[in-house]
């Protein structure tokens, strides 16, 4: 390996990791603050600049948390599989870090000759292949902890992640179909000028399915069953403390960034946004802003919704999301053919038809799955 290539790789990857590690710290603060405000609390507001009374809205909180985490005792339960107990958080972190490379972030310091992983043909496939490893890490943690709650959490996680991978991939397939490429850079490039995929019925449906499946993939509320606090304490990381726990935490947030980044790439136009012609590096800002918009929605959902039950979660994946995403593929194929005709009127008709089909299918599936679940009337005795 030549020195230049090494430097090139370092230039391409180190800033990426630094930026996302910083964003992770900021996101933990943002999440705590936003959740607090949703719940009418104030949230972290004390930790700011050390040795002063300057609070800085509690922005020092992540740093304080990090220092605390590092210095906490590392407790491994007796009877736990020490090797896998140690490996699990590392294995959780590596794939989520790795897939960040596939996000089409055009940093200004990268020139045409730089190493850009996202220009890899088949970046999308790589993305799904590597994030699939996460499941293994989670189950490893659950198994190695030798704790029944951990085991339950690990088993839930495997079932959930495997199930939701399918609608996730099937909704990404639609974009791949429309663009005709698996290259993340090309997919983002195809949506230039506000021509985002989310602005079409099939694209929107795919985006919603993708987003819901992404929530489940990253174990976010309302699909946070593997770490369901009220049922199985903390799920697969019940027995983790100190820095190992911090690694899990980091992995979870980085996975959130990665999957939001993929959603932005596939459906929200990547780095597309106003002002790019004047300042090309704005695309990075736009990209990160869109990621944060998605994360804000995730936080908002977390502040609002209770959790699904295991069987309902699986039912939702297989009985609702899967049929809908398969139907959506047909709708998208139909629309692609209509698009080839290049006729405004036909396009409008296609839009209406696909809207009707998708909404009808969604509510039909909803009716089928919901059974007798309905708000009820009550009687009063005088």
């Amino acid at each position: 390996m030549s020195l230049e290539l090494l430097i090139d790789i370092l230039i391409a990857t180190v800033p990426l990791m630094l930026i996302f590690a910083t964003l992770f710290a900021f996101t933990t603060w943002l999440e705590r603050k936003a959740l607090a405000r949703i719940q009418n609390r104030i949230g972290p507001n004390k930790v700011g600049i050390p040795c002063t009374r300057i609070g800085l809205f509690g922005l020092g909180q992540p740093a304080a948390d990090g220092i605390k985490m590092i210095f906490k005792e590392n407790i491994v339960p007796r009877g736990a599989d020490r090797l896998f107990h140690l490996l699990a958080p590392i294995l959780a972190l590596i794939p989520s870090m790795l897939v960040l490379c596939f996000l089409p972030l055009d940093f200004p310091w990268l020139n045409e000759n730089s190493v850009k992983a996202f220009l890899l043909d088949g970046a999308v496939i790589f993305f799904f292949a590597i994030t699939g490893l996460n499941t293994l890490a989670v189950f490893m943690a659950g198994w190695a902890s030798r704790n029944k709650y951990s085991l339950l959490g690990g088993m839930r996680a495997v079932a959930q992640m495997v199930s939701y991978e399918i609608p996730l991939v099937l909704s990404a397939v639609i974009v791949v179909m429309m663009v005709g490429s698996l290259n993340a850079g090309e997919i983002a490039g195809a949506q230039k000028g506000g021509n985002w995929f989310v602005f079409s019925p099939w694209g929107f449906a795919a985006f919603v399915i993708f987003f819901i499946a992404a929530l489940a993939e990253t174990n976010r509320s309302p699909f946070d069953l593997p770490e369901a606090e009220s049922e199985i304490i903390a799920g697969y990381f019940t027995e983790y403390s100190g820095f190992k726990f911090a690694l899990f935490f980091l992995a979870e947030y980085i996975a959130m960034f990665a999957i939001s980044g993929l959603a932005v790439t596939l459906f929200l136009g990547g780095g597309d946004g106003p002002g790019l012609a004047v300042l090309p590096w704005l695309s990075v800002i736009w990209f990160l802003a869109k990621i944060f918009a998605l994360i804000a929605v995730m936080i908002w959902l977390r502040g609002t919704l209770p959790r699904l039950r295991v069987d309902q979660l699986m039912g939702f994946a297989w009985k609702f999301m899967l049929p809908l995403s398969i139907l959506n593929i047909f709708v998208a194929g139909f629309a692609w053919h209509a698009e080839q005709l290049d006729n405004k009127f036909i396009m409008v008709i296609t839009w209406l038809i696909s809207l009707a089909v998708l909404y009808g299918a969604a509510s039909g599936l909803n009716q089928l799955n919901r059974g007798k679940v309905r708000p009820r009337e009550y009687k009063y005795a005088e």
Partner: protein
């Protein structure tokens, strides 16, 4: 027709409203230290960042509410505390205290004669549950509730056992922390005292009359 996921969107609208509201309408939405419900600003408005900086009202002499109760104290009527202490060491409160946190010993002078005051009066505030039963059963209005709350101490046993001399507080202090209650208690005591005095007076007059009568009779007899 119900919208797909309508209930969820409704819920999200509520949380959004609360999120925004917590910035706009802080008084309504956020937990505050602003005791606005308290009558006509009798109490100061700011509480401060408590352990580091004390707010204006957070001193031992201000009460939190009119009936707030923390731990009991013994009342004296001013001057040298042990001379005017109201407690006569009757031990009713010791007997009635639900968690049995009061310990009293009577005081005797050098001749072994009982003087009506406690020699030892300890309250273990780590046991006391601030129930105010002692205040209610006391026939002498000698024990009332204090609102002092800064009782933290590094000494787990000795520091939480409050001794007689620390429990003694003047009636003026009581008036400061619970003005209405203290005034009512003083009035009640005055009425009782007046009644007692009237009774005493009546008894004395009766005795006097009886004595006079007796004397008259004796004189009569003598005259015979």
């Amino acid at each position: 027709m119900r919208i797909l996921g309508g209930g969820i969107f409704k819920g999200m609208a509520v949380t959004l409203r609360n999120f925004v509201g917590s910035y706009i309408n802080k008084k309504e939405r956020l937990p505050t230290n602003d005791y606005s419900w308290r009558a006509d600003g009798a109490l100061p408005q700011s509480i401060g960042d408590y352990p580091k900086e004390k707010g204006e009202q957070l001193s031992d002499t201000t009460t939190v509410t009119e009936y707030s109760r923390n731990f009991p104290m013994l009342l004296h009527d001013g001057g040298e505390p042990m001379d005017t202490v109201r407690c006569v060491a009757c031990q009713i409160c010791e007997r009635e205290c639900p968690p049995q946190c009061i310990y009293i010993e009577k005081d005797y002078d050098e001749n072994g004669k009982y003087i009506k005051r406690p020699a030892v009066f300890d309250i273990d505030v780590s046991v006391c549950m601030s129930c105010q039963i002692c205040v209610e059963v006391c026939p002498f209005d000698a024990i009332v509730m204090n609102s002092q709350f800064e009782l933290s101490t590094p000494d787990r046993f000795g520091g939480l056992l409050v001794r007689r001399d620390d429990l003694l507080k003047s009636n003026d202090y009581y008036h400061k922390i619970h003005p209405e209650e203290a005034a009512a208690r003083d009035q009640k005591m005055a009425v009782e005292k007046a009644a007692k005095e009237a009774k005493k007076k009546a008894a004395a007059e009766k005795a006097k009359a009886a004595a006079e009568k007796k004397a008259a009779e004796a004189a009569k007899e003598e005259a015979k």
